[in-house]
C-alpha cells in the first residue's frame, strides 16, 4: 500500500496548522482590540474562503503564486523558492482555506474574556504582553484549541484549491483527497476506500476530541463562570 499520500497530507496539514494557529490567533487578538476603517472588509476577506468555491480560491492563488505572477516570479527568481506544483503550494492552499475557522474560533474566544479582568491586570502593573499571556490567552484557550483542531481537519481535507495550485503529482503533491479522487476515477476502489477510511477516522477523532473537551470544560466552567465557552457552538 502506498503510504505517500498519508505522510504528505499529515506534513502539509501540520505545517499549515502551525502557520494558521499563529496567524489566526494574532489577527483575532489585534482585530478584537483595534478599530480602523476597512476592518469589516479585512474580516470579510479572511472569511471568504468559507463560502467561495475551492476552484475560485485555487484560481486566485494561481494569479498570485503562478510562475508569471508577481509574487510567484519573485519567490522563484529572487528567493529560488518554487511554489506551484510543490508541497508548498498545498500548504498555501490549506492555510487559506483553514484560516477563517481558526480566526473565528479565536475571535469568539477572545470576546468571551471579560474586559474587566484585563483592566484589573493593567491596574496591577501588568504590561499588555503579560496580560495577553497570563489572562487573555489562558481564558480563551478552549476556543483556541477548538480552532486549531478545526483548522487541522480542514487542512487535511483540502482538495480543490490544492489541485489547482499544487497539481496531482503522485509522490510529490498528491495528498489523501487527491489520491482518493484519482483512484476512484481510475476504478481503483480498494485504494480509494482505504484512504477514505483513514481520513474519516482522523476527522472523527478530531471532532470527537472537540466535543469531549467542551463537554468536560462546560461542566467545569459553568460552575466557574456560569456561561458557555467560545467555540462550542461550532458543532
Amino acid at each position: 500500500m502506498n503510504m505517500h499520500p498519508i505522510i504528505l497530507s499529515i506534513k502539509v496539514a501540520l505545517i499549515s496548522t502551525i502557520i494558521v494557529m499563529l496567524l489566526g490567533t494574532a489577527t483575532a487578538w489585534l482585530l478584537c482590540r483595534i478599530r480602523f476603517s476597512g476592518k469589516n472588509i479585512l474580516e470579510t476577506v479572511i472569511g471568504l474562503p468559507l463560502v467561495l468555491p475551492p476552484t475560485v480560491i485555487g484560481f486566485g492563488l494561481l494569479l498570485l503564486f503562478g510562475r508569471n505572477a508577481l509574487l510567484g516570479s519573485f519567490l522563484e527568481n529572487t528567493l529560488h523558492i518554487q511554489v506551484v506544483f510543490t508541497w508548498r503550494a498545498a500548504v498555501i492552499a490549506a492555510v487559506v482555506v483553514s484560516l477563517p475557522l481558526m480566526y473565528r474560533s479565536a475571535r469568539a474566544a477572545f470576546e468571551t474574556v471579560d474586559g474587566n479582568l484585563e483592566s484589573a491586570a493593567r491596574t496591577l502593573g501588568a504590561s499588555e504582553l503579560r496580560i495577553f499571556l497570563t489572562v487573555t490567552l489562558p481564558l480563551a484557550l478552549p476556543g483556541i484549541l477548538a480552532g486549531i483542531l478545526l483548522a487541522f481537519a480542514r487542512a487535511l481535507g483540502e482538495f480543490g484549491a490544492t489541485l489547482m495550485l499544487a497539481g496531482n503529482i503522485p509522490g510529490r503533491t498528491q495528498t489523501i483527497p487527491l489520491a482518493i479522487f484519482f483512484a476512484a476515477e481510475s476504478g481503483d476502489m480498494r485504494t480509494a476506500g482505504y484512504l477514505v477510511a483513514v481520513i474519516t477516522l482522523a476527522s472523527f477523532v478530531v471532532t470527537y476530541s472537540i466535543n469531549a473537551w467542551f463537554g468536560r470544560k462546560e461542566t467545569q466552567f459553568s460552575r466557574q463562570r456560569g456561561e458557555r465557552n467560545a467555540g462550542s457552538d461550532f458543532y
Binding site: D114, N116, L117, S119, A120, A121, R122, T123, L124, G125, A126, S127, R130, T134, V135, P138, L139, R223, Q224, R225
Partner: protein, 228 residues
C-alpha cells in the same frame, strides 16, 4: 495627596470635578449613571479625561496642557472592581500575587525590600488565609471582596479605589466589611476613594464626600467633613 481637576464628556452629560484628597476615605456619592465609575477610571488611567489635571503625591498622571497621560500600569493605584474581577483561572493566592511580579529589574528589588507585608500577612489580615488555594468560583461574595482587596493591597498602592465594594453583599457581611475597610484605611494610611449609592455607607465610611448628581453640570461638594 491626590489632586484632580478634570472634565469628561459622558454620552448625555458632562462630568466636571475638582477635588483634593490627603488621607482618609472619600466617598463618591450619587445615583446610578452619574459617572461615579468613570471618575475612578479616569483617576486609575483606565479611561482618559477630556481635559484637566490629575496628580498623586507630586507625580502628574494626566495633564491635558502638557499632554501627559501615564498608563494605568505605572500609576500604582489599587482598584477594586464592582464585580471584583478576580482571575477565574487562578487561586486566591495567585490572584493576590499577580501585582507583585509585575515589577522588574531595579524597581522590583526596591519594591521587594520596601514590602511591609508578605502575601500571607495580607491574607491573614483579611482573614482569608484558609481560602488561599481556592478558585474564585468557590468563594462567597464577601470572600471574593476580601480576595480582591488583598490583590489590590499587595501592590502597595498609593491610593485605593473601590467601586461599590459592598453593594453585592448581604447586610451582615456588609456591616462587617464596612468596619474592616475603615480599620484598613487607618492602618495603611493611604487615601481611599469609595463609590456608593447608599446613604448609610456614606455615613458609615466617609471622611469626605463628593456628590455627583445628574444634569448638565455636576455640582461638587468638596471636602465636606461628615465624620471628623
Amino acid at each position: 495627596m491626590l489632586a484632580a481637576t478634570f472634565i469628561k464628556n459622558l454620552s448625555e452629560s458632562r462630568l466636571e470635578l475638582e477635588f483634593t484628597l490627603n488621607n482618609g476615605i472619600l466617598v463618591l456619592f450619587g445615583p446610578s449613571g452619574a459617572g461615579k465609575t468613570t471618575v475612578l477610571q479616569c483617576i486609575s488611567g483606565l479611561a482618559s479625561p477630556d481635559g484637566g489635571y490629575i496628580s498623586l503625591n507630586g507625580r502628574t498622571f494626566y495633564s491635558s496642557e502638557h499632554k501627559i497621560n501615564i498608563p494605568a500600569r505605572l500609576r500604582n493605584i489599587g482598584y477594586v472592581f464592582q464585580d471584583y474581577a478576580l482571575f477565574p483561572h487562578m487561586t486566591v493566592k495567585q490572584n493576590a500575587m499577580y501585582g507583585v511580579r509585575g515589577c522588574k529589574g531595579k524597581d522590583r528589588g526596591d519594591k521587594v525590600k520596601r514590602y511591609r507585608l508578605t502575601v500571607l500577612e495580607v491574607l491573614e489580615m483579611l482573614k482569608i488565609t484558609d481560602l488561599q488555594d481556592r478558585y474564585p468560583a468557590q468563594l462567597s461574595g464577601g470572600e471574593k471582596q476580601r480576595a480582591a482587596l488583598a490583590r489590590a493591597l499587595m501592590t502597595e498602592p498609593e491610593l485605593l479605589l473601590l467601586d461599590e465594594p459592598l453593594s453585592a453583599l448581604d447586610d451582615k457581611t456588609r456591616f462587617q466589611l464596612q468596619k474592616e475597610l475603615k480599620k484598613l484605611q487607618r492602618e495603611w494610611e493611604i487615601p481611599f476613594i469609595l463609590v456608593t449609592h447608599s446613604r448609610s455607607e456614606l455615613k458609615a465610611l466617609g471622611d469626605q464626600a463628593l456628590l455627583l448628581t445628574n444634569g448638565r453640570q455636576y455640582r461638587s461638594l468638596t471636602e465636606i467633613k461628615i465624620c471628623n
